[in-house]
Amino acid sequence: MEAPLLHLALVGTPNSGKTSLFNALTGSRQKVANYPGVTVERKEGFFVTPLGRQVSVVDLPGTYSLRGRSPDEEITRDFVLGKASGERMPDLVLCVADSTNLRLTIRLLLELKRTGRPLILVLNMFDIASRRGITVDVERLARELGVPVVTSIAVRKGGTTELLKLTDEISAKLDPEPQENTWRALSVAELRATQREADRIIADCVSLPSRPDTWTARIDAVVLHPVGGLLVLALILFVMFQAVFAWAQPLMELLNSGFDALGELVHDTLPAGLLQSFLQNGVISGVGSVTVFLPQIIIIFLFILLLEDFGYMARAAFLMDRIMGGAGLHGRAFIPLLSSFACAIPGIMATRVIDNKRDRLTTILIAPLMTCSARIPVYTLIISAFIPARDVWGFINLQGLVMFGLYATGIVSALLVSFLIKFFMLRDYAPAPFMLELPDYKMPRPKSIAIGIFTRAKMFLQRAGTTIFSMMVLIWFLASFPQPPAGATEPAIDFSLAAIIGKAIAPLLAPVGFNWQIAVALIPGMAAREVAVAALGTVYAIEGGKEAAEQIGQALATKWSLATALSLLAWYIFAPQCASTLAVIRRETGSWIWMATTFAYMLVLAYAASLLTYNVAVALGAG
């Protein structure tokens, strides 16, 4: 008889190497979703034990205790207690410890024991501990704790063999009757007593060398230096953005010519007509124009994941805490805001690490002002069409300078908005505490990084394949129908639904210098910002034929004034044009009001910025 699926849960403190153990156990057999009602990422993976038992394992959010002081930690507590809605109680809980740092995990384990769940203590990163001269009497530790203990090296092949063997042994004799749960929230005195007990057990079973990790101390001497540290941070950010723009270029050109060739192929094989136009202008040029940004998205996530894995992100938060505090932001907001440069959605989800509600709300409201990668297509297109590629002051590329200016404007406005929120709305503001473990540095694991990037790239492509694809079909349809009457001399698009809609909205946008083609492109841009580029491409392709589609940048340069182009750039710094971001804001804040607030304030800013830019540009003779 086939044994039923065994349900495991991974619990541990932040930085315990829980996720790399999860990756080691499950490889790429992972499923990422959300827990119902909250945007806490639910990561489940599957594997088979040496004895052939099918296992599902859930990687629970890191926590120092079961008190549950943030939505993440509540999930961990409820899941272990079997109270999380729609979740079954785990058969076996793996409590994961960083072997170099057992104090906090042993205390957590003593608390977990009270839940009555079967437990295994996994001493992870055991190799690093051995290298530092830390020795653990594993048998004695197991005896004193009354819990099976196993060592593991998640990052090494075969490093989890012992754990798998033990899982088999224990799962074979699991008691079907769950033990009684005697856990309740600990009082301060109990907490202290538990920590004392943990410290006593550690003193008995673990011998610590006097030498700490010298590498971490050496790196921190530079990286956390009040002045030097900020310079290092600035340098890292500079390299990151340089990489996003410079390194990605060849790959993007490759993808671009690939899609062009595909379009050509369709154009040459199919007879001229609706189907040819649909495939070439609607599907291939539409989806292609978005997919080419995959290299940039991979690079930005590569940096973020590397820095996280290395242990630098916590340091960045430390350095920025008081500096951002001036604008009413918490140090921990730095990581979500940095992620927002890739995409506001993971950024907003990452605000869960901020446990104070008001700090979190402020961060969520300004996260969309960080220039996300979806704006890159729009910026790149317009800048390359309108800004000459010459050097200013001898060494700075003007196009790069404009790009930098757009990013800087986004950041400065975010800080201003945050300051205004602090000043006007959240008057009784008392800075929430900043308490964060600065983990020892670790070499990033290529496998973990690869899995992380793969998951994100997949999400991006799925989006390109679904949301963006359907929007492109819609745009193509609107731009193609109704067909022009026979013998008409004007471009076909002038007769289409798109033109009718665009011309209807155009008067509203005329003061900021947008024509009806831009108005048409802004509508599907609501689904995802980058679609605007594709939509402009489709509109002008159907209007101008194949040549225009190939050189949309040149087409724009002849059809728009510089003032219009600058105005559109200004619009995109602020425009709340991303339905998914708004949906995430609603979910994260649990309120339509904050979603509407974000939409409204960004729209007002966008319109005002464009109005100003356009009129100043026209006054300076760029109209």
Binding site: L319, R322, I323, G331, P431, P433, M435, E437
Partner: protein, 91 residues
């Protein structure tokens, strides 16, 4: 334990300079001005390893107002703001 532990005056860790080393005597969350309720602050400090008898050393300070501070607590490093570190009484 260094021999002057008994004679050194007790002081909040929040007032100590970079390079300070000492041993935690007790926690006193009252009147630190932290946004957290006293009990919550104390619980969190304990959860991060700030318990009586732990050795602490201030490793780094931030640039603005020498805040926050990076504190070595036994064998881990924790970043806290000075305001919260006022609850940690050391000598």
């Amino acid at each position: 334990m260094t021999d002057d532990d008994d004679t050194r005056p007790h002081m909040p860790l929040g007032l100590a300079q970079r390079g300070y080393t000492g041993v935690i005597q007790h926690l006193s969350a009252k009147g630190t001005g932290s946004a957290l309720p006293d009990i919550e602050l104390e619980s969190r400090l304990i959860e991060l390893g700030f318990v009586e008898g732990a050795r602490v050393e201030i490793l780094h300070e931030g640039i603005v107002g020498r805040d926050p501070i990076a504190v070595r607590v036994d064998n881990i490093t924790i970043a806290v703001r000075r305001r919260e570190a006022m609850a940690i009484i050391v000598a």
